[in-house]
């Protein structure tokens, strides 16, 4: 029985390894992402895509937003950006309200200008106890029909879409923001503009991929 001691160690390690793998397996395989046309930046027919799981209360998301817009300008007709909400639980509830408001803006085809407003004024609203006046002001700034916007926001009906987006992210093993998925492959570490350009060039070279 001289091998019993090391065998116990190997068994414990294998049990741990198996449990972690089982956990990942239990999450299932990622399902196809839904595409909401109003939340696409760039040519919807572009052969390459970046899905960005983002949170309006996340400073890094604020930093990456203009880089993604720049990619659309740098590679016209080649890349589209698809926005997905991934409000982090560690952030104030205001990020959820902002995501809902942005969905109301999307109804009026003003998602992206509203998205920019939210990020540009990030520090004003994110920790404010009364966020609605800010969200309303930004809606006015981008020229939304205010009656429709307020009715939409007050109804709370957009919360479901935000939750669905988040659930899609969980399916894709997203647990932080911003998470960019270029043609199905996560880009997490190198998110500076030059690295993103390089990644897009490579993706274009490979011929693109549909969602």
């Amino acid at each position: 029985m001289k091998f019993r001691y090391p065998l116990v160690g190997v068994a414990i390690a294998l049990l741990l390894f198996g449990s972690v793998k089982l956990y990942w397996y239990s999450l299932g395989t990622p399902t196809a992402l839904t595409v909401e046309p109003a939340k696409i930046l760039g040519d919807p027919q572009a052969p390459n895509y970046i899905v960005v799981f983002s949170d309006f209360g996340c400073p890094f998301c604020m930093l990456i937003a203009p880089r993604l817009s720049q990619l659309v300008k740098d590679f016209p007709g080649q890349i589209k950006i698809i926005y997905k909400h991934f409000p982090l639980r560690s952030h104030p509830i205001t990020v959820l309200y902002a995501a809902e408001a942005s969905e109301c803006a999307a109804d009026q085809n003003k998602f992206w200008p509203y998205h920019d407003e939210l990020f540009n004024h990030f520090e004003q609203w994110v920790t404010h106890p009364n966020v609605k006046p800010f969200l309303t002001t930004y809606a006015q700034n981008v020229g939304l029909d205010m009656k429709t916007f307020e009715a939409c926001y007050d109804s709370g009906k957009k919360l479901e879409i935000v939750k669905e987006n988040r659930q899609e992210g969980i399916g894709y093993r997203v647990s932080g923001t911003p998470t960019c998925i270029l043609n199905g492959v996560k880009i997490l570490r190198k998110q500076d503009l030059e690295s993103l350009r390089e990644a897009v060039r490579e993706a274009i070279g490979r011929g693109g991929k549909t969602l």
């Binding site: 001289k2 414990i12 741990l16 972690v20 647990s175 570490r189």
Partner: protein, 155 residues
């Protein structure tokens, strides 16, 4: 060692083992790329080495943390974790000295414990002291070693 000393060491073993177990698990239950980001922010490891570290370190924490919790290969596990803790301390110290803009150490992955660099450095100091005590003592109170090695010596 006195009975009270043994009990104290048992508590330390369980706490330290539990902490490493949690730390490893919280990194492994989310995509490993997030831990890669945390490592990258410390700007110490070459790019090619980051995925290697990100893939090995959480498993080492989980396995040796569990060994320590169960009291299996106690001295060896404590020695391995001591070395890891010293490496963490070097990484944290250089980040503090270089004033790197890292708000949170990322030591617990996506878990609910969030520590600043200074807090993690202090925690690692306490852990290193406890681990050295565990690695250099021969107590086998409530441990697998106590069961397995006693059987071996009697057979």
């Amino acid at each position: 060692m006195s009975r009270n000393g043994e009990r104290l060491l048992l508590v330390a073993r369980l706490l330290v083992g539990g902490l490493f177990f949690y730390s490893g698990l919280s990194k492994l239950n989310r995509p490993i790329e997030y831990f890669e980001i945390a490592i990258t922010m410390f700007r110490i490891a070459p790019d090619g080495l980051v995925p290697v570290i990100a893939n090995i370190a959480p498993w080492a924490e989980l396995i040796f943390g569990t060994y320590l919790l169960l009291g299996y290969w106690t001295k060896g596990s404590a020695a391995v974790l001591t070395v890891m803790t010293f490496i963490f301390q070097i990484v944290l110290a250089q980040s503090l000295l270089r004033h790197l803009p890292v708000d949170e150490c990322g030591c617990f992955g996506g878990g609910s414990i969030h520590l600043t660099l200074y807090q993690s450095f202090m925690l690692d100091t306490v852990l290193a002291l406890a681990l050295i005590q565990i690695a250099t003592s021969s107590t086998r109170l409530f441990s697998l070693d106590g069961v397995l090695l006693k059987d071996r010596s009697s057979s």
